[in-house]
């Protein structure tokens, strides 16, 4: 039982990583009606910029704010330069653009900052929390930040007119134009916000998994899995999904003897698939009702 609780807690801590990634995945999905496959690479790039700023002597919180702002601008720039010209092209052209972006960013990371593993500081300290070995300061800090971000996003999307306009622009751009919404700006804004959240996720994840160009790959996968599990249209569901994936992965790895390290990812994905069989739109997702 002790082991079980320990693994659950550890899974929660990992889950916080996946949850913050899942949140930024859902965020961009709500904003642009697509999954951004390069989300992880954008987050890694942001983290590298943060690392560089720290290496140049910038204090942590100044660096944090700078990275958030730069990520925001970067997201908007990517949308305007790369995706706006493609917005009339087919979904497949856009898919290629996402893959290309992934490749470019990943390569740039390695080129500019090489492949050696770097450490990234945390503002929360790494001492065990409340003396217990189950969770340390940083992991707790991550959970709190993720929860706060989630709250802010919820308020933004559900409670503000701008948030409503963004949701409308993403789900039905033609009708959005007919009510006067400037769909192009909404899309750009969505990218900016998603990039900023990704940047925060990157800065929180880097201290744990250590900074290197491929740091986000597995995380992004789990993030997607968590988002899909929770329901792509539900930020809260995505966060819960992320935590769930973390716990499932850990429990499967510990208690199913054959699995071990290598198959943890596979098992997590298998569980996701199983859930999708039962609830094709995710646990909290709302499938859009369409009439024939």
């Amino acid at each position: 039982m002790e082991l079980f609780i320990q693994q659950v807690m550890s899974g929660l801590a990992n889950g916080a990583i996946y949850a913050s990634m899942a949140l930024s995945v859902v965020m961009i999905y709500l904003a642009i009606d697509h999954l951004n496959f390069a989300q992880g690479e954008m987050a890694t790039f942001s983290a590298f910029i943060g690392w560089q700023l720290i290496a140049w002597g910038t204090p942590y919180w100044v660096m944090f704010v700078a990275v958030v702002i730069l990520s925001f601008i970067g997201g908007i720039a990517i949308e305007r330069v790369l995706f706006k010209p493609l917005h009339n092209a087919s979904i497949l052209s856009q898919l290629v653009a996402f893959i290309a972006l992934f490749s470019i960013l990943n390569s740039l990371d390695g080129y500019l900052w090489d492949y050696t593993i770097k450490t990234f500081p945390t503002p929360f300290g790494t001492k065990p929390l409340f003396g217990s070995s189950l969770i340390d300061g940083h992991e707790a800090g991550m959970i709190v930040v993720t929860a706060v971000l989630l709250g802010l996003l919820y308020l933004f999307f559900q409670g503000t007119r701008l948030g409503l306009a963004m949701r409308a622009a993403a789900s039905n751009p033609e009708s959005a134009r007919l009510v006067g919404i400037r769909v192009g700006w909404m899309t750009a804004l969505g990218w900016g916000i998603a990039a900023a959240i990704g940047g925060v996720a990157g800065m929180l994840i880097a201290p744990i998994v250590f900074l290197e160009p491929n740091m986000m790959f597995g995380v992004l996968l789990y993030g997607f899995a968590g988002a899909v599990l929770g329901g792509l249209t539900s930020p809260g569901g995505a966060v819960l999904g992320g935590f769930a994936v973390g716990i499932i992965e850990n429990l499967a790895g510990t208690f199913i003897p054959v699995i071990g390290r290598d198959l943890k990812l596979t098992i997590a994905l298998v569980v996701i698939v199983a859930v999708l069989m039962v609830r094709p739109a995710g646990v909290f997702g709302r499938s859009a009702v369409s009439r024939v």
């Binding site: 979904i91 893959i99 490749s103 069989m277 094709p280």
Partner: protein, 342 residues
């Protein structure tokens, strides 16, 4: 997201019907096809060993992409995991040859068969999943395969991380060609048979049903088409094609190992398909060219930034040719015929 119909303009019943009706007179298409085959037959005598090997790989990748095309271009079901079927076919061949001494040409059948069954089984749960969700599941398969192949208890079969060595088939004694050239011709023969099979499937009633499901699933069902049956069958057929390509790939590369069949391979196939043109048979070969040569070109331009160059080339192609190479060729064709009719 299902594939929008305008992306697959070549695979329409009307288009195909037009081609099939000209019996007895040679259309331009037939001439071009005959010419291409003639060139293909002559090539191995013009070039040497390594280049022949590369051409063989182009055909193999083209076949793999054709498999994906049948599923995604033809039936609108999205897969980001076809590398897994490729790898599966490769391993079946490798294991059958290595452990059981089966001659290489027989292994193509079980490779295809196993992949058909797995693909069909994949198609069953896929029925419940739309677009994005199906993409994620196939994505999971692509990621899972290398891990499964390295899985400890299965190492006796799979050879674990080191993989399995595959002997290159020798040319039959009565033919005065070397083994590279023989493999090229063997591959060419298989490719021709399978492409012909795909073309005839597209033209058939079954083919039209499958396209109908892609374009308007509800109307198709209302007309009595058994959607679930066709969707799972085409998943199986698609996997079969890519699996046979994988088997040929194992023969060509003479080696199978878990990390050769990573997610990157699956994504390469998808990119190759899109850039070649969804729903186009010749486009698959362009895709094969892309998959084989562009990563190398990118690495040559800049070792450190190879990935970035690769990405930029992809972007260049997609901006210049939004409907892929096949779409571009079609545009050229319309332009040329308009000039002719002035």
């Amino acid at each position: 997201m299902t594939v929008p119909p305008q992306e697959t303009a070549v695979f329409t019943a009307a288009g195909r019907a037009g081609v099939g009706q000209r019996t007895g007179s040679l259309s331009t298409r037939h001439l071009v096809l005959a010419g291409a085959i003639a060139v293909a037959v002559v090539l191995p005598f013009v070039f040497q060993g390594f280049v022949i090997f590369q051409f063989t790989l182009v055909m193999i990748y083209g076949l793999a992409i054709l498999g994906l095309n049948l599923l995604t271009g033809f039936n609108g079901q999205f897969s980001v995991g076809h590398g897994a079927f490729y790898g599966l076919g490769a391993y079946v061949t490798a294991i059958l040859m290595h452990r059981y001494g089966m001659p290489y040409y027989w292994t193509l059948l079980p490779a295809g068969g196993v992949c058909f069954v797995v693909g069909f089984l994949f198609g069953l749960p896929a029925l419940r999943l739309q677009g994005l969700y199906l993409a994620l599941v196939t994505f999971a398969a692509a990621v899972a395969l290398p891990q499964l192949l390295k899985f400890h208890p299965l190492e006796g079969w799979t050879g674990g991380v080191q993989g399995i060595v595959v002997d290159q088939p020798d040319a039959p004694a009565f033919l005065p060609i070397d083994s590279d050239q023989w493999l090229y011709y063997f591959t060419l023969l298989v490719i021709l048979i399978m492409f012909a099979g795909a073309a005839s499937l597209v033209k058939s009633r079954t083919g039209r049903a499958i396209m109908a499901i892609r374009d308007h699933p509800i109307a198709a069902t209302a007309m009595g088409i058994n959607g679930p049956l066709y969707k799972t069958l085409i998943f199986g057929v698609s996997a079969l094609y890519t699996g046979v390509a994988g088997a040929l790939g194992a023969l060509a590369v003479q080696f199978v190992a878990p990390d050769s069949f990573s997610l990157f391979l699956s994504i390469s196939f998808l990119v190759g398909l899109i850039l070649g043109g969804m729903g186009s048979l010749p486009g698959c070969l362009f895709g094969g060219l892309f998959v084989l040569y562009v990563p190398n070109i990118a690495a040559e331009v800049s070792r450190g930034l190879a990935g970035a160059i690769y990405g930029l080339i992809m972007l260049l192609v997609i901006f210049v040719m939004p409907s892929g190479a096949a779409g571009f060729a079609r545009l050229l064709g319309t332009y040329v015929s308009r000039m002719r009719h002035r």
